[in-house]
Amino acid sequence: MTPLLSVQGITKRYGAHIGCADVSFDLYPGEVMGIVGESGSGKSTLLNCMAGHLTPDAGQVVFDTRTNGPRDTITMSEPERRMLGRTDWAFVHQHARDGLRMGVSAGGNVGERLMAVGERNYGDIRDKATDWLGRVEIDASRVDDRPTTFSGGMQQRLQIARNLVTGPRLVFMDEPTGGLDVSVQARLLDLLRGLVRDMGLSAIIVTHDLAVVRLLADRLMVMKSGRVVEAGLTDQVLDDPQHAYSQLLVSSVLQV
């Protein structure tokens, strides 16, 4: 089986400072990978390198494209990479405001990706947008409202709908539950878990919240100072951490 995404030796430096160093892993179709670590451990840098927002100094990010098979997304041309970015890839930002157009209605936000890939029938676009709002538990009557009138949790769900409408195969998520209160987090996680399972999505989730990866991720990488210090199955890493930093991380979680 070909991996959907194969990352090899990704290194990104900011001058003398290391963003992330020599990260390699394979992600198979339908698999959810969690990346955890403290602030400044390089997990967002790694995610941005993989998603094409940053250019790494070394390494390869090989994606199994629909038409041409495995391709290195770092050396492919920019139009191709941007095309991937609006079809097979999705990127969920930590702050919904970064991923949404706040001046455009919810329906327009969801429809943007459809129009970007050439959909030109208003009725169809609107039907799909309404359908997706339903799937992320936003009432269909809100389709013409702007995201500014939405709560934080709704904005985050809208951002997810907007990203998944073109049926991507790989979703990058940067702290998808950050800044939400716990009950809203729980609903969002529930929703994400359902969508990931139903659509057979592969996902890479960056977070510092161990509960998120426990619920969503099949596999886990623990990062510290730009390097991967431990990797393995989620339950294995969380229940029996081997590296000193992983042990610290797991033991830092408050038990209620």
Partner: protein, 283 residues
């Protein structure tokens, strides 16, 4: 005519602008940056159009200026006088006699012919500006032909108003490649942009951009399959000349709700009245 170089601008500046125009003509719809000069008028009054006109005028030209279709409004009169004084060119109000027509927000009703140049004054040349504020990003979108966002604007129109409510500066696609802002002409004029015999030049002074449509260029107004483009106008005949096929201005004529509709193209309207056509409000 001794105080000024011909047509106000110095020859090096005209040369620079002509290069931008030629590049614009070679890549229809592409916005060519140029070093816009200070003109003796405020930005927003047609500094871009004036510079383009100055660069294309020759002493033998017959010059016409219209503002919202009219030859006799402040903007039109002052620009016409400006070139009378600085270039000494002959001027006219008759569309068919003119060789260079500078326009603000209208295309003349009378079809233009080969050999004429239509110069538009453009306030904001970037059709994506109000959707994407970053210039670096809009340039990238143009170069990679990523125009989905333009349809998001039209989608918003329909979802809010039930139809495409954009009625001026309606975005067009040129030769299947560049999306272009046709300057704030009413969308009634959009069908005239395509396949026109005259050369169309667009100058944006403050934004420092020139773009162009060579004669007989394909220009398509953007739309949705189920909400096709429609060139709309007020559903009335002209009160002065009775024309039913021209773009109309609505005038309030008293404080009791009285109003009348007249052609916005004054030359067209006057020519029809001279020919004996009469509308219901004509004296």
């Amino acid at each position: 005519m001794t105080e000024y170089n011909f047509a106000y601008l110095d020859e090096q500046t005209k040369r620079m602008i002509r290069r931008a125009i030629l590049k614009g003509l070679a890549i229809p719809g592409y916005q060519v940056p140029f070093a816009s000069r200070e003109m003796p008028m405020p930005y927003g009054w047609g500094t871009g159009g004036v510079q383009v006109s100055a660069a294309v005028l020759t002493p033998k030209d017959m010059f016409k200026v219209i503002d919202q279709g009219a030859d006799d409004t402040t903007n039109a009169v002052s620009i016409r006088t400006f070139f009378q004084r600085t270039a000494g060119v002959a001027t006219t109000t008759a569309t068919s006699d003119a060789t260079v027509i500078q326009t603000r927000h209208r295309i003349p009703e009378e079809p233009l012919h080969e050999g004429q140049i239509l110069v538009y004054q453009v306030p904001i040349p970037e059709p994506l500006r109000f959707l994407e504020p970053r210039e670096s990003e809009t340039r990238k979108m143009h170069s990679l032909e990523e125009y989905g966002l333009m349809h998001v604007k039209l989608y918003e129109d329909i979802s809010r108003h039930g139809h495409i409510a954009t009625s001026y500066a309606y975005p067009v696609k040129v030769e299947g490649r560049y999306v272009m802002d046709p300057s704030p002409i009413p969308k009634f004029d959009n069908p005239k942009l395509g396949d026109m015999a005259a050369i169309q030049l667009f100058g944006a002074g403050r934004e420092q951009r020139i773009y162009a449509l060579p004669p007989y260029t394909q220009v398509v107004s953007l739309d949705f399959e189920d909400h096709p483009f429609e060139a709309s106008k007020a559903d009335h005949p002209c009160g002065m000349c009775g024309a039913t096929d021209s773009y109309l201005d609505e005038l309030i004529i008293d404080d009791a709700g009285g109003r009348m509709f007249v052609c916005s193209d004054t030359d067209y309207c006057e020519a029809r009245q001279t020919a004996g056509h009469k509308g219901k409000d004509a004296a």
